[in-house]
Symmetry: C2
Subunit: 404 residues, 2 copies
DNA sequence: CTATTTAATTCGAGGGTCGAAAAAAATAGT
DNA sequence: ACTATTTTTTTCGACCCTCGAATTAAATAG
C-alpha cells in the first residue's frame, strides 16, 4: 500500500534531490543544480540556503575557476567535508580493516589487522572489530568530532535489516549481531552489508553510464557471490541480503558445496571447487577450509599448458557460471556482468564455456553478446561501496531531518 | 534518479490513495477512507467531492444500512459503475474470450470463440480478437458508451511496455503487435500482458492476506510459467514480461524443451514433457504440438497405479520444479507458492519430490515448510487478473488526470 | 564608466494538507 | 415535542511548498 503524502514531505524529497545532485556533481552552482534536478531557481535557492545554514553544504569561497564569459559568476557549492564523519569496517577472511572518512568521502584514517578468523569466538570477533575501528579513530586525530554512522561490510549473508551476519564461510558462528556490537560501543547507528552487494554499489556509483541501471557484479573467489542491480536499485532477498548466485543449482545432486548442499554453481566455480576438480579429487570431497592456501595461479598455469584435469575444472566452472546466468536471465532478461575477484585471472579460459552455455539459449538471440568486464581486486570495491552506501544513507537522513 | 515533486503531485497521489481505498473497500464512508488512508477528514472531503463531481464515485443514495447508534449516519461511497467501461480479451490455445466490464468490475457481457490458433496468420489472429471483442460489445448493449481501456491477456511472452506478444507456444508467429491492432480498431488504449502475471495479479487482489506481499503463482500446464510478486509488486523482466520459471535450468544439456533449449524445468514439468517421459520416449523427442491432445488424467491414473514410467515422469517433474525453486529461493529467499492449472491434479504425486528437493537446501532450515496451494482452473484467474489490472491502471490515470 | 549578461534572491500567486470550529443529521431522554 | 448528545461531514484559516516574474548582484565588453 502506498502512503499519504504531505506538503513537508515534498520538501524532504527535493532536499534529498539537491543533496544527491551535489554529491554526484562535486562542484555545482545553484543554476546547475536547478538544471540537473528540474527544480526552479527559487526552490534551489531556498533549499541550498537551508543546507548551507545547517552546515551540510559549503560555498567555494575562493575564485570560481575561470568564469568563461561575462555575467555574474557561478558560485560553486559542494558537500561540506566537516559535516560528518563515517566509519567503514570490512570483515573478511583473516582480515579486518577500518577507515574513517569525512562527509565528502575523503579518507582521513585507515587501519587494518590480520588474524585467523576461523579461530575467533563471537566476542573476540566483536572485540577485533571494535579495536580496529577504535585504532583508526585514534590515529585519525578527529578528537571528539562525532561519528555519524558506521557501515560494516562482511563476507557473508546478512539480514535484510542490515543488523546481523547470519552465515559466513569465514567463521562457524551464526547470527552475529555485528551492528548491535558496534552501535552500542560507539553509540552510532550501524549497518552490516554483504560484500558482494557493496561491490555492486561501488560500481553503480563509480560508473553510472555502464552500471547505473542493471547489471550483476559476480565475485569469483573462495565463494561465488553476486550483487545485482535491476532498474537502478539493488536487489535484496526478502529476509536476507539474498541474490546468492553461487547457490543456484547447476547439477542437481552434484558436487558437494561448502554450504552443505550439492550441485550449486559455487560447488563448481568457487576456487575450492576448481582446486578440488583440478586435483582429481571426487566431487564429494569436503571443500577445503578457507584458511588453507590454494595455489590458484598454478592451476591456471596448468590449464593453460593443457593439463586435462585443470583445464577441465576451469571449463566446468565456466559452464556452471553460464548455466546460472541462463537461469537468472530466464527470470529477468539479460544484462551486463562484472566479474570480480581472483577467479577473473582465469577469465580467458572460462569465457568460451560461459558464452557457449549462454548461446544455447536461443530465445534471446543475442545471448552471446553480453558485456562481461573483469575486476581482479575486490577489496577496494568493497570499501568504496561501503563508504558510498553510508554516505547516501546519511544524505537521506539529512534530507529527512526536519531542519528548523 | 528520483524526480522533482511538486505540490499538485501530492494531490494526485492522495487522490489515487482514496480511489484505491474505495475500490478495495467497496462501501466506505469519508471517515472510513480517512482511517484507512491516513488522510485528514478535511482532505478526504475535498478529494471525494472532486471525485463525485467528476462522476468517478457515487454516494449510496438509499438507506445507510442500519446505522448502529446515534450521530449523523455515515454515507457510503462507492465506485461509480457508469464511470467507464473496460474490455478484457484473453487469447489462449485455441480459445479467445472477450468480456466487457463496468468501472466497478461487474461483467456486462461476455463472448468466446474456439478456433485452431496454430493455423491462423497474424492478420487472422488480429481479426479474431477484434471480432470477438466487437461481438461482446454489441451484445452488451452499451451503445456508444465509450470503452476506456482494453486489456489483453495472452499465453506467451510479452514486452515490458505491454504492447506486443513476442513469443508464444500457441502460434509460430513472433512479435504480434496486439495492442496496436486493438487500439487502432477501437481507438482505446490497450495493454497486452502475460497470462501468468495476470493470474498472480488476480490472487494478489483476491487474497491480500495470503498473497498481498510475496508469492509465486506457477502455472503447470502445457508450459510452465510464473507470475512473481515480491514485496507487493509484480516482478517483470527488463525487456519482457520475464520470470520464465519454466526456462530456468534443471539439467544442463538435458531434455529438449519446446523453446529449443535443453534441460529447462519445463522440459521435465510441462505436460508435454510428462507425457513424453511417461510414454517412454527419449528426452530429445520433439515436444508435442499444443494442438495434440494429451490424456493427462490417464498418465496420472497410471502413476497412481504404480506404472513405473508414468510415476517416474511425474516424480521427475516434481524434482524439476523443486530444483527451480531452490535456484529462485537462492536469489530472493523463500515465499509461498500457488500452483495453477491442469498439472495440479498431479500435485499429490509431486509434492513429495518437490519438498524433498527443497529440503536438500540446508541453509534456510525451514525449506520444507513452504506453503503450497493449488488452483486447478486458470481461466477465471486470468480473466480476473486482466480485469483488475485494467481497472487499477484506469484508477491511476484518473488520479493523475488534472481534474479542473 | 556604462551597457550587457548571467547568477542568485525575493516576492506574490497558487495549490496542498491539517486542525479546529461549525454545520448537518441522526438518536436518546425527558 | 423538544432538547441534549453523538457522530459525520464541511468550512475556514494557518502553514508549507513550488513556481514564475521581477529584482538584485556581480561579473565582462566596449
Amino acid at each position: 500500500m502506498t502512503f499519504v503524502i504531505r506538503s513537508n514531505e515534498v520538501r524532504r524529497g527535493n532536499r534529498g534531490l539537491v543533496l544527491s545532485a551535489v554529491r554526484r556533481g562535486a562542484l555545482l552552482s545553484r543554476t546547475d543544480i536547478g538544471a540537473r534536478t528540474g527544480l526552479s531557481a527559487a526552490t534551489v535557492s531556498a533549499i541550498t540556503s537551508d543546507l548551507i545554514a545547517d552546515g551540510f553544504l559549503v560555498q567555494a569561497s575562493d575564485t570560481n575557476s575561470a568564469s568563461p564569459g561575462r555575467g555574474r559568476p557561478k558560485v560553486a557549492l559542494s558537500i561540506n567535508p566537516d559535516a560528518a564523519l563515517i566509519g567503514v569496517v570490512i570483515f573478511q577472511l583473516n582480515f579486518v580493516s577500518a577507515t574513517i572518512l569525512d562527509y565528502a568521502g575523503t579518507t582521513i584514517a585507515e587501519n587494518s589487522e590480520e588474524f585467523v578468523s576461523a579461530e575467533l569466538t563471537p566476542s573476540e570477533i566483536s572485540q577485533t572489530l571494535i579495536d580496529c575501528l577504535q585504532e583508526a579513530l585514534t590515529t585519525s586525530g578527529v578528537g571528539d568530532r562525532k561519528l555519524m554512522r558506521i557501515a560494516v561490510g562482511v563476507q557473508g549473508v546478512t539480514d535484510v535489516a542490515a543488523t546481523t551476519m547470519l552465515w559466513s564461510p569465514i567463521t562457524a558462528h551464526r547470527e552475529l549481531k555485528i551492528a548491535e556490537w558496534l552501535s552500542e560501543e560507539f553509540n552510532v547507528p550501524t549497518t552490516v552489508s554483504n560484500d558482494c552487494d557493496l561491490m555492486a554499489r561501488a560500481l553503480n556509483w563509480r560508473d553510472p553510464e555502464r552500471y547505473g541501471e542493471s547489471f550483476a557484479g559476480i565475485m569469483l573467489s573462495y565463494g561465488v557471490g553476486m550483487g545485482l542491480f535491476l532498474r537502478g536499485s539493488l536487489v535484496q532477498g526478502l529476509n536476507t541480503s539474498g541474490t546468492e548466485f553461487g547457490h543456484m543449482v547447476f547439477r542437481p545432486g552434484g558436487a558437494l558445496c561448502r554450504c552443505g548442499r550439492r550441485g550449486c554453481v559455487e560447488a563448481y566455480a568457487g576456487d575450492y571447487a576448481i582446486s578440488r576438480a583440478a586435483a582429481g579429487l571426487p566431487e564429494d570431497a569436503a571443500p577445503r577450509e578457507p584458511s588453507e592456501y590454494i595455489d590458484f595461479d598454478a592451476i591456471i598455469a596448468a590449464a593453460r599448458k593443457g593439463e586435462p584435469a585443470a583445464a577441465n575444472a576451469i571449463q566446468t566452472a565456466g559452464k556452471a557460471i553460464g548455466t546460472g546466468l541462463v537461469s537468472l536471465f530466464a527470470l529477468v532478461d539479460t544484462f551486463p556482468i562484472a566479474l570480480i575477484g581472483r577467479g577473473t585471472t582465469a577469465f580467458d579460459l572460462m569465457e568460451k564455456p560461459i558464452r557457449e552455455t549462454l548461446a544455447q539459449n536461443v530465445a534471446g538471440g543475442d545471448m552471446t553478446e553480453i558485456d562481461i568486464d573483469c575486476f581482479e581486486n575486490e577489496k577496494p570495491l568493497v570499501r568504496e561501496g561501503c563508504a558510498i552506501t553510508a554516505l547516501l544513507v546519511l544524505d537521506e537522513e539529512i534530507a529527512d531531518a526536519i531542519v528548523v
